[in-house]
């Protein structure tokens, strides 16, 4: 059994009013520990709602959520502890910063966990290093930082809680390409270093393709598919009809393959594509 499991999870907004809307409908997922999963779906497909169920911020209308084998809402007093197991980084997390210094803000979560001074200090410094915030920034006010730095502080604040599962809701929204690559890079690094299960919510296929190994596709409040990258992208036509796109490189290489050039079918990043093309040219020259 995986670290995250849901059973017929359903959530309805505004039950009993004219605004009734089924946000997620009978979701069954099972995610293994240590996995790095991309969650995609276009606006309103229920991504954010699903994520908020995974640490008990929303109570399911029906169905169940199991975290690490333990049912959420079975025992209310356990909810807080389970919440520490699942770190949730919201969209635009920089708007939740409030402390006087970056250090104190990152320490907010660990402090709420009731950890000792030394442990908090270790965690704050370690995560700050991990997200690429220099020591000199720690004593600054978070409101003096740039947008990208603020976001990294906010992400560090959740990472410092060292959750077993880290969920990031659109962590790259509104950032420039460099900031985006930086965030995605640090997520990958964090995953590699800690072995934490990571869920990356995004509507950008390019982001997801670069970072994750498995993809969960949501469409109209339901799970469309949950599989590894290549088998998801193999259904490019269906994805397109749902308003989702396959990464551009993948599309280019799909066409090339259709034209009869031999490539492996796991081309998701431009760097990898470049290597492939160079290798192919090299071979041609030798012949």
């Amino acid at each position: 059994m995986g670290i995250i499991r849901t059973e017929d999870l359903t959530y309805v907004y505004g039950e009993g009013t004219p605004f009734r809307k089924v946000a997620i409908d009978k979701i069954n997922i099972d995610i293994d520990e240590g996995e790095i999963v991309g969650v995609i779906g276009h606006t309103g497909s229920g991504k954010s709602t699903l994520m908020q169920h995974l640490n008990g911020l929303l109570k399911p209308t029906s169905g169940k959520v199991y975290i690490d084998g333990e049912e959420l809402f079975a025992d209310k007093s356990r909810l807080k502890d389970i919440r520490f197991k699942v770190g949730l980084v919201f969209q635009y997390p920089e708007y939740q910063l409030f402390e006087e210094t970056v250090y104190k803000d990152i320490a907010f979560g660990p402090k709420n966990m009731g950890l000792g001074e030394d442990e908090i200090d270790r965690r704050v410094r370690e995560t700050a290093r991990l997200v690429g915030l220099g020591e000199e920034l720690l004593e600054k006010s978070p409101f003096e930082l740039s947008g990208g730095q603020k976001r990294r502080v906010a992400i560090a604040g959740v990472m410092a809680m060292e959750p077993k599962v880290l969920i990031l809701d659109e962590p790259t929204a509104g950032l420039d390409p460099r900031g985006r690559d930086r965030i995605l890079g640090l997520i990958k690094e964090y995953h590699a270093e800690k072995g934490t299960t990571v869920l990356l919510v995004s509507h950008s296929m390019e982001d997801v393709a670069k970072t994750v190994s498995k993809i969960l596709v949501l469409s109209d409040a339901k799970v469309f598919m949950y599989s590894d990258r290549s088998s998801v992208f193999a259904r490019a036509d269906e994805l397109t009809s749902m308003g989702l796109t396959v990464p551009q490189v993948t599309r280019v290489f799909d066409r090339l393959r259709a034209m009869g050039i031999e490539f492996d079918d796991e081309v998701f990043s431009v760097d990898y594509a470049k290597d492939l093309v160079l290798k192919l040219l090299e071979e041609k020259r030798r012949h």
Partner: protein
């Protein structure tokens, strides 16, 4: 859920009351309040009740909505009721036990005050149920505009009210989001002593203030980009125009006030 709080409680409709000019509606509400406060007897209040009932029936607002508007003030009614009951010692003594003394004067005042408060709330709720917040601020602007002569910023004040009303739902949504985010970081908002809970609000209030200021700045910039320069020379999309029915409504209101004054003079109860 925090989202369920409604502040602009406008209930759309096409009744006569809805179609009355908002300025006239404001005026009538003021007249109605005067009516309730000059009434000295139950018969005077009865006139107020009749006025209320007529407007209520004409408006087509469901009775459930009206009851909902009274609900939050029930504690106030009970509180003032108890005060009146125990501390007014005029009239015959109805009940006496140790230091507690209930008199007929106390009972009458209690009922009288309770009815008056309920009528007040019903009347003002009816105004907000039948007038959208935006039209209401429009009306306030127009009513206050003669004061421009003495440099009173009527347009600016109305604009501020409109913006405040517009941003209430946005800020509520934002609060919801920040609360979830801090809860996800283990913030405990529900348990602990009063001081502890007040302290727990800091992680919510600071980001909320920061974002409110940011929004204000962005809005000001956007308004300036569109050459907004206050009320002078500004025309409106929706012109307020009085129709014959508005004058009829004012006349009816005046008649009711006259009735209350007459009853005060000649009716003992």
């Amino acid at each position: 859920m925090i989202k369920d709080i409604t502040i602009g409680q406008f209930f759309p409709g096409k009744s006569v009351i809805h179609r009355l000019d908002p300025r006239i509606k404001l005026l009538l509400t003021v007249m109605y309040i005067v009516m309730l406060f000059i009434a000295k007897s139950f018969s005077g209040l009865g006139v107020g009740i009749v006025f209320m009932l007529i407007s209520f029936l004409l408006s087509g607002i469901p009775i459930k909505m009206m009851l909902k508007s009274i609900k939050p003030i029930v504690p106030i009614i009970i509180f003032t009721g108890i005060l009146n009951l125990f501390f007014i010692s005029s009239g015959d003594v109805l009940f006496e036990w140790k230091f507690i003394k209930i008199t007929s004067g106390g009972v009458t005042t209690m009922v009288f005050m309770a009815v008056r408060i309920i009528l007040l709330i019903c009347g003002t709720s009816l105004l907000t149920y039948t007038t959208s917040p935006i039209t209401l601020t429009d009306a306030i602007e127009r009513i206050l505009s003669p004061l421009k002569v003495i440099k009173f910023p009527a347009h600016e004040i109305a604009m501020m009210m409109t913006i405040a009303l517009r941003f209430i739902p946005t800020l509520i949504e934002e609060t919801d989001k920040i609360m979830s985010a801090q809860k996800a970081r283990g913030a405990d908002l529900e348990t602990g002593s009063l001081i502890k809970r007040a302290k727990a609000l800091i992680p919510i209030l600071i980001p909320l203030f920061v974002s409110a200021f940011r929004r204000a700045e962005e809005l000001a910039l956007a308004m300036e980009c569109r050459c907004y320069h206050g009320g002078e020379g500004r025309t409106r999309l929706k012109q307020l125009k009085t129709a014959p029915r508005d004058y009829v409504a004012v006349a009816i209101g005046a008649l009711f006030i006259a009735a209350v004054i007459l009853l005060n003079r000649f009716s003992p109860i």
